[in-house]
């Protein structure tokens, strides 16, 4: 079984706060596939720093607001 990711995010919450922005709209704004947004929201994928910034920019928020890092116990 794959180890749980140490990076979590609030993409879903920020999407809904921005007028229920769809996953496809966010994917288009960030230049990724919708399936990547789905994987990100489910914390199944840790994005690159650049993609993290692109998502934060598309959601009009800072990187720290969207992503959190938890030190592995």
């Amino acid at each position: 079984m794959a180890a749980p990711l140490t990076i979590t995010n609030h993409i879903r919450r920020f999407r809904f706060n921005r007028g229920e922005m769809t996953q496809q709209a966010l994917a288009d704004a960030c230049g990724v596939t919708r399936q990547t947004i789905i994987a990100l929201e489910a914390s199944r994928y840790a994005p690159s720093l650049e993609l993290g910034f692109r998502i934060a920019h598309a959601l009009d928020a800072s990187l720290e607001e969207i992503f959190q890092w938890q030190a592995p116990s």
């Binding site: 288009d28 230049g31 990724v32 596939t33 990547t36 994987a39």
Partner: protein, 217 residues
């Protein structure tokens, strides 16, 4: 008309394509003088053509949207690689004669049939990309999966090459003399295909595993 709706046309063309492949593979077991592989190939290509037509008219379903374009490509790649490997295995006896493929009509026909499979694969891959024209086809997550799958593919190719080296190195010389050059060429082709097949299988599995875990966290 509902009967000729794009979705029904899609299903019918897929069934016909499957029947075409059955004819293509069944050619080796024919008991009458009919070029079944040729008929199968024509049927397959024609079905793919109608499939393309229907594909452009059918709206994207939820199931389809849940699967990434590169995952579709991985499943299609896996299906065609497996089909090509089976075809090479079935037609292997045709390459056993100690003459070049040009002088062996049976081997030539087998080669053309296998070649047609590659062409059909390329056509279908192109059609699938057209289906998502204007959207992002791959991103960093796809590249990450591709990288992991390639590692497995390389390992499989290496293992297959070592197997062939051991086979050729440790077999008795008089037995090796019965192997023709076209036969060894097919063996090398299948080695490459094993690598590509494993590459596609791992990619498809990684995508599927990700989707499954998202669906049931």
């Amino acid at each position: 008309m509902v009967l000729f709706s794009p979705r029904n046309q899609l299903v019918a063309s897929l069934l016909l394509a499957g029947f075409g492949l059955v004819l293509f593979f069944g050619n080796n077991y024919r008991s009458w003088d009919m070029p079944l592989d040729w008929i199968g190939t024509v049927l397959f290509v024609a079905s793919v053509w109608f499939f393309v037509d229907a594909l452009h008219r059918v709206p994207h379903s939820e199931t389809e949207l849940a699967i990434a374009p590169q995952e579709w490509q991985a499943w299609v790649g896996l299906a065609f690689c497996s089909a090509c490997l089976v075809a090479i295995w079935i037609y292997l006896p045709a390459f056993a004669a100690h003459v070049s493929i040009r002088e062996n009509p049976e081997a030539g026909a087998a080669g053309r049939s296998i070649g047609m499979l590659f062409v059909a694969w390329a056509v279908l891959a192109y059609v699938l990309n057209q289906r998502w024209a204007g959207t992002v086809l791959s991103d960093e997550r796809d590249r990450d999966i591709e990288k992991r799958a390639s590692t497995w593919g390389r390992a499989a190719t290496t293992a297959a090459v070592i197997c062939i080296a051991v086979l050729l190195g440790f077999s008795p010389t008089d037995r090796l003399q019965t192997l023709s050059y076209p036969w060894i060429a097919q063996l090398l082709m299948s080695t490459l295909l094993v690598g590509v097949c494993v590459d596609n299988a791992v990619a498809a599995l990684l995508y599927w595993r990700d989707r499954r875990q998202v669906d049931s966290p």
